[in-house]
Amino acid sequence: MESIIKRIEKEIADFAPTKGVEETGIVRATGDGIAEIDGLDNAVMTEMVLFDPSHDRTLEEALKDAAPLYGLILNLEEDGVRAAILGDATKVYEGMLVRRLGRLLSIPVSDSLIGRVVNPLGEPVDGKGPVAGTKFRPIEREAYGVIDRAPVNVPLHTGIKAIDAMVPIGRGQRELIIGDRGVGKTTIAIDTILNQKNEPKESRPICIYVAIGQKESKTAKIVAQLQEAGAMEYTIVVTAPASSPAAYQFLAPFAGAAIGEHFMEQGKDGLVIYDDLSKQAVAYRQLSLLLRRPPGREAYPGDIFYLHSRLLERAAKLNKELGGGSLTALPIIETQEGDVSAYIPTNVISITDGQIFLLTDLFNKGMRPAIDVGISVSRVGSSAQTKAMKKVSGKIKLELAQFRELEAFMQFSSDLDEGTKKQIDSGRRMTEVLKQGNGAPLAFEMQAAVIFAAVNGYFDSFPPEGASKAEKSLQDYLVREGGDVLKTIREKKEIGEETEKTLRGVLEKFVERSAK
């Protein structure tokens, strides 16, 4: 009670009534989350406005519904402006007073956002009370230029063997995760967040998961999973669920980028996941059509490419003078029937630095993650790979690609020559070793050791279908009996001559023991 009284007393003492002249407009028409406003002659694009119902109400009536209702100016027209209503559009009525706020759409950002679930306006939606901190950041800003950037050279480990070995991601990179619905796109993203727990605290990226147009139950499940794994300690969730206005779904990724930049500019690393940009594109199409902007291909507006390029360009690795922080982006795109040549997928593929393509067929065959090695690439990640991983993963991609070519002949295995049979078995074994369950990311030193074993034939004594089981036993064995070998790989980030010798010794013992 005491503190509340003090707080109110302080507010009253500090209170200064509005003295200046404010610019106002009047709602001419409203519908579908868009308001046409008369006046506001000096308003600028993406400026925030406040819909003020209190103007023609008594104080008592106004206090009943005192929560502010904001709008975002998206069209400047000859005789007024059009704004997207950021909230309950049913509260806006014709003749309502609209006040200019004189600032571009901004959200409050601070370190205390970590562990919280917020909406695209930075308002908490997790019932844990207000977020401390009052620093506002515009959600739209120009990306860093060439001079401000440094090359991507620090790995961002996803904890997924197939990705870290074949499609490595660097801090500051933009790597697209693309595939049909239900093939494990979100799983890869969440596993990547979970894996950051394996990173040392000082270099652990702050993760921002942006849920766009998702079912609230799905987002709640993800938050619970992250909480259970202790990953919310370094994660922020921005949610614009399917039930939220289209404007929220359009803004959510930009809010995520603004939060990520807050950490990047402190010299920290950030990882932002946009799940997914197809839904953002649909929301933006809806807004654009309601704003009467001319439709283009698939009814998307002409600036749909710019929408995604300006968002993804904000991922960066800053140079030392700017603190050396980074923001890695993992956008997700959902395809229809595996069609990567559709409008939005091709746009985003061309913007990003590579893509992880997930195939429904592989998923249905039980391959987890269902990555199509052939068309998944990382354009900059290899320079960020650790020496240890580079050494062990060199041949995997080629070997797997050759295996996929020969896979069709598997049904005629009895008629095949020994060499081909051996190659197919080796490919099958490698495929089994690369399989990985949900929510079980591996630390990079364990991945390096396991892949080393696979490429050097230590699983050859196991039948191909048993390789996955053997790989799990090897993991246990390495932890139990591996001595310092994992620790050495983790610390040195490479497999030197001495380490290789020790590792080979451990692996030989493992093979011997398994044969008994």
């Binding site: 009534p17 509005t18 610019e23 106002t24 009047i26 209190s54 104080l59 206090l63």
Partner: protein, 123 residues
Amino acid sequence: MKASTYAKAIERLIASGESEAKIGDNLIAQLKSRGRLKLLSGILSELTLMKARGTTVAPRVEVAHDKDAVQALTEARMLGIDAKEAHVHHALISGWRAQNKGLLVDRSGKRALLDLYRNVTKA
């Protein structure tokens, strides 16, 4: 040209002091010569809209109590809002507010209390 463009031109001419009868005659003659008399109904509705907008944005001063009227009108005039009279609006609780062509000065007790309430409850 669109009906709205004609309407805006008419508004500008009236503001410059041109005779309304002359503007009307010239407009009809011009539309006739171009065979665009059909635009008349559109121009009419645009002009009606402009007139309504002019009423909404006309200078207006509201006071909570009659006794504040003189002071409110003077202060509003100093801020560029020149209204002829002040209307009493009890919901303002105290003080006054003035509006003119998209500008608002709100020095009412209601606004101050509402701002205070929002400040206290937002954090």
